[in-house]
Amino acid sequence: MSVLAPSRFFFEDVELHGIRETPAITVTEAHVALYSGVTGDDPPGHGAAPSLLPLCLTTGLGWRIPQPPLAVLAFMGVEWHVDAPLAVGDTIHSRSKTAVKRAMREGGVIIEERAVINQRGETVQHGKFTFLVARRPAPAAAQGDSA
């Protein structure tokens, strides 16, 4: 019996200008309480979600699309804009597009444009993520083979 290693999505697998849309999540009081407790950031009150919470939730939404996880070597940076407030009870999903794919000596840089969209189709936050992603490893060398 052979056991498959978990597959990963490498630099070569990323499609330039490819668009991915995630399933959605409803933002609850529990998210706000957990977020405020972990980070120590003051909750904004009046049923509003903390500004950085949707940004954090969008990273998890990306794991729910049927694609192996990106082989991220390093999360290099993020540029982010808050376009509209988000309230507890709102349901968000995200839409991402690979805007830049640049090969480097070690791996490659991927810049992904991402928008967080509410249940009315309005963009509430958007920005760009920059990742350093691993290249697909070369096929195993013949050395060590008994042949």
Binding site: I25, H31, L34, Y35, G37, V38, T39, G40, D41, D42, S51, L52, L55, C56, L57, T59, G60, L61, G62, W63, R64, P69, V72, A74, F75, M76, G77, V78, E79, W80, H81, V82, P85, G127
Partner: protein
Amino acid sequence: MADPRRFFDDIEVGEAYESPGRTVTETDIVLFAGLSGDYNVLHTDAEFMKQSIFGERIAHGLLGLSIQAGLFTRATQAYATLAFVGLRWKFKGPIKIGDTIRLRAKVTAKKETSKPDRGLVTVERVVVNQRGEVVQEGETDLMVERRRP
């Protein structure tokens, strides 16, 4: 009673703050993975990470970003913030379990807007660890209320 918050008019370009330290724990990382749904092996698989360049699990970059937002509230008297507008951020190095991070922040710009009741404040932020190494840095833009005339 006077409003204790600091308004756009009170904040000066060049003023700087340093937060208390905060030790980032395994619990913080586990809670953040559960909250965000980001279970990347970088943050959750101790055995896999032994083989990595980091040698152990590291905190999510966005956990560091979120913790510094909390540290900012402990570094200075609260701003009369109306909205968080945006950020430009770089992740420079790993935050490992047991590392103690603190925030150094400085107001770099103030800009009036088309609305007379508010203004935009840009804060430059540097997150350093216990060895003084910069682990994250960037700028945030905050919309802050003006004092009523």
